[in-house]
């Protein structure tokens, strides 16, 4: 197994290894800790609706990656949760736009739990009867999300921002789309995307690296790496429509205001750090815009922002509750134009950079956070310490360069309004 040790300058170091099957393994030892966190994941999410392997193209129903995640817990010899129950671990899984992850955390019997994890994720078992049962459960999950204003405000925005890209699809699908899923389709998706060369194992906590690598050596099924072509339709640079709204049971309007950024390739660590700083400069809690919006009663403590990016999609999103979302959107636009003209205040930039550096250091406190950061490293082929390193040297000029990506002609304002009273 290829193995390298990567050192940071904050007293942490980790091992990255690659199994002969292509599986990537990341391990950060934290001997002072009681707990361990392990994630076994695949680069397969809701956006992977059309793919080609060995020249054969397949299109699958929406929501199948999430459906598969639910079903994988059942094996022929029983349920994974039953096995974890005997060891006392906390286990869960999630599917997002571009990945599916199976995880556990524990403070005892780590290697027993790792064996369970490696075993059940590599043991698919789907029958028509179990598929039908799951359709009922997932149908209820979909209805739970349909009622969730926070979920709807984001997905309505994505539907309006992206004309063709499957990021606009609901991760769980719809009750109609999941009705089309059968055992054969599940096996097809599993055999494509759950090939170890497309997967990663990320571990942080009170563990021994060599012991893990020995387990993994013999614990991954033999397979040949697969070349997967992920087919995405052409996506125009423009948004589909600039405003969308829906009425749900909320007390005051919720909003999601997004800028669609150009996409040529996956944003690098430098891109992401610069955009993170830029967002703080524009609307962080030290910024003039934040002060204005708060003093005018236009935002509250739920106001937030993020850089949202993945294979084929790139956006910055501002979210919150407001009595006047349109006014918030106009103020954000105006502030971005002002910064384009006036530049960035030096003191503000310096304070933000120190703040983000401190937050990056803080993130190493948590084994869960470290394991999740490893997932990001696996997905983007980066190092755990890249962000910290770049934060020490990033310049205001680099941040300002990224400001040009924000085009006020390519924005979407999604609003959830309160229900009209009868």
């Amino acid at each position: 197994m290829l193995k390298e040790v990567i050192h940071g300058d904050i007293g942490e170091s980790y091992v990255k290894a690659v199994h002969s099957s292509g599986l990537k393994i990341y391990i950060l030892e934290k001997p002072q800790y009681n707990s361990c966190y392990a994630i076994f994941g695949t680069k397969y999410g809701s956006i992977d609706t059309t793919f080609s392997v060995n020249g054969e193209t397949t299109s699958v129903p929406e929501g199948i990656a999430h459906f598969l995640e639910h079903k994988l817990f059942e094996s022929e010899d029983g349920d994974a949760f039953t096995k974890y129950a005997k060891t006392g671990a906390y286990a869960n899984a999630f599917t997002s736009f571009d990945k599916t992850c199976y995880l556990f955390s524990c403070s005892n019997l780590f290697y027993d739990n790792l064996e369970i994890l490696l075993s059940f994720v590599q043991s698919p078992y789907f029958t028509q009867a179990t598929v039908e049962k799951e359709q009922g459960i997932i149908g209820q999950e979909i209805r739970m999300y349909d009622d969730s204003p926070a979920w709807r405000v984001m997905f309505n925005m994505l539907l309006s921002m992206y004309k063709n890209h499957p990021v606009r699809i609901d991760i769980a699908g719809t009750t109609d789309s999941i009705a089309k899923i059968d055992a054969d389709l599940l096996y097809k998706c599993y055999n494509t995307f759950y090939n170890p060369s497309n997967m990663f194992l990320c571990i942080a906590g009170n563990v021994e690296t060599d012991k893990i690598l020995k387990m993994v050596e013999g614990g991954i099924k033999e397979s040949k790496p697969l070349e997967i072509e992920r087919i995405k339709p052409e996506e125009p640079e423009e948004v589909l429509k600039s405003e969308v709204s829906q009425n749900l049971a909320v007390a005051q309007p919720m909003f999601c205001f997004g800028y669609k950024l150009p996409y040529e390739k996956m944003p690098s660590v430098k891109d992401r750090v610069c955009i993170e700083i830029l967002l703080e400069v524009i609307a962080g809690d030290c910024s003039p815009l934040y002060k204005k919006l708060m003093n005018e009663g236009l935002i509250n403590d739920d106001f937030s922002f993020e850089h949202f990016c993945g294979d084929g999609y790139n956006a910055v999103i501002f979210e919150g509750d407001s009595c006047d979302p349109k006014a918030v959107a106009e103020e954000i636009k105006a502030e971005i134009e002002r910064i384009k003209n006036d530049g960035i205040n030096k003191k503000l930039f310096s304070a933000i950079r120190s703040g983000l550096y401190g937050s990056a250091i803080r993130s190493f406190n948590s084994v869960e956070s470290c394991a999740m950061q490893f997932v990001d490293c696996a997905m983007n082929d980066t190092s755990l310490f890249d962000e910290l390193k770049y934060l020490k040297s990033v310049t205001m000029e680099s941040v300002l360069k990224r400001l040009a990506l924000l085009d006020s002609e390519k924005t979407v304002l999604s609003v959830i309004n309160p229900l009209k009273e009868d």
Binding site: A85, R362, N365
Partner: protein, 427 residues
């Protein structure tokens, strides 16, 4: 010195929870006051206004800039229910000095900042500043009204308010919208004075060391205050049994219904009294191996989630579930059926052992989270003994199946709250 209470003043204690594994040190102020309708809203606003500005930083963005310069020092504030008390928390957490570029004394500076925020608010002549009060009132009102968007939380809070109507625990933790609207610059200032004078206070430091002189400074500050009628956190009335179950319906524009069931428990109180209830609740509805998950969700597919939780010092057990309207009646019947199974002891040894393992496992993880460790001790002030997570693990290991059955037999349905779609038959 660590994990031992350090008396600082009348009703003021310090606690140093030594833990070298983190890159940060945190300091928290915990104020315990009686939960009362007349004071709840003023008290609830205090942590938020005190951590937004101060005499030295009258502008909240100036304070936030200072925190950013302190390498992203984090200020958190909250208001929680604790027994029949209101718990007001203000915490600062900062990376350790060794990570700073310029050898700054980050931990000392951050802890002094928090001390000044608590004791030197942006106030004059017996009043807070009007614009600060209006801002915090607006945010509080929006937060209270916004609860309706989180249906699971909304439904749980509604059940609590029904089950504990007329008692302190039934009061919403931040008051109602009308309570907040009645807060004034003067009433808030009086609440701040009252907090310093009468609250039971516990100051926690979690990290490698106590910042130099911190506990001495706190002692000095409180000795200058006229302390009197200190809150007694041990006063906590448990949930009362009822002869007739109270069932409440509410209809909203939702697609999925919510059911929340409140049960009273004969076992309640501090750790020494109530740990069997913790284990019983876990086997009943704690995790994916529990009776509710495996039966109500997995076998019968009646719901997407169905989980139990307990508030041991109140003798309260809650089951909450997301269901389709047509399944609501069946789900309730099955939940009660599973409770009967617990009372008869018809759960397996392996379910019992899984629960013990899972609880012990999760107790150990407290040591790996600074926030969790801080909160653990903040929720132990009405316990006779200050047990650590390790202490609780030892006690859990001594609990028997019979203890769990006994705990289950003392659990009785009190209130059922149903949030249902506007269309459809109530069942």
């Amino acid at each position: 010195m660590s994990n031992k209470i350090i008396p600082l003043s009348d009703g003021v204690e310090g606690l140093f929870i030594q833990n070298h594994r983190f890159n940060t040190t945190s300091v928290s102020f915990n104020f315990y006051l009686p939960m009362q309708k007349s004071t709840v809203a003023n008290n609830a606003l205090l942590p938020f206004i005190l951590t937004s500005c101060s005499k030295d930083y009258p502008d909240f963005t100036a304070l936030n800039l200072k925190l950013s310069k302190l390498y992203g020092a984090r200020l958190d504030s909250s208001c929680e229910k604790y027994g029949d008390c209101q718990l007001l928390r203000m915490t600062i957490s900062v990376i350790d000095d060794k990570f700073s570029f310029d050898s700054d004394s980050l931990v000392l500076e951050a802890s002094e900042l928090l001390l000044k925020l608590v004791f030197n608010p942006n106030a004059e002549n017996g009043e807070f500043k009007a614009n600060d009060v209006e801002r915090e009132k607006r945010k509080a009102i929006e937060h209270i009204r916004g609860e309706i968007a989180e249906k699971r939380v909304y439904a749980k809070n509604r059940m609590i308010s029904e089950m504990f109507e007329g008692t302190p625990y039934g009061i919403p933790k931040c008051g109602t919208v009308s309570d907040v609207e009645n807060v004034t610059v003067k009433s808030l200032y009086s609440a701040w004075c009252n907090m310093l004078e009468t609250a039971f206070v516990r100051v926690h430091v979690v990290g490698g060391a106590v910042p130099q002189g911190l506990f001495e400074n706190i002692k000095e500050r409180f000795e200058a205050v006229n302390r009197h009628d200190i809150t007694d956190c041990r006063i906590c009335k448990p949930a009362q049994k009822t002869a007739k179950v109270n069932t409440v319906f509410e209809k909203m524009d939702v697609k999925q219904g919510k059911i929340v069931m409140g049960f009273s428990s004969d076992i309640y109180g501090d750790d020494d009294m109530s740990l069997p209830l913790l284990v019983m609740c876990d086997i009943f509805g704690g995790g994916p191996y529990s009776r509710l998950f495996t039966n109500v969700r997995e076998k019968m597919s009646l719901c997407y989630y169905c989980a139990a939780s307990s508030v041991r010092y109140k003798g309260l057990l809650t089951v909450d579930s997301g269901v389709e309207v047509e399944n609501a009646g069946k789900a309730i019947d099955e939940i009660l059926n599973q409770l009967e199974i617990m009372k008869k002891g018809e759960f397996s040894d392996s379910e019992f052992e899984s629960s013990i393992k899972s609880i012990c496992d999760s107790m150990k993880t407290y040591y790996d989270s600074q926030n969790s460790l801080d909160l653990w001790y903040a929720l132990k002030v009405n316990n006779q003994n200050l047990y650590s997570p390790e202490d609780i693990i030892e006690k859990i290991k001594n609990i028997t199946k019979e203890d769990v059955i006994y705990a289950a037999r003392g659990v009785n349905l009190h209130t059922v709250y149903k949030l249902l779609p506007k269309e459809g038959v109530i069942c």
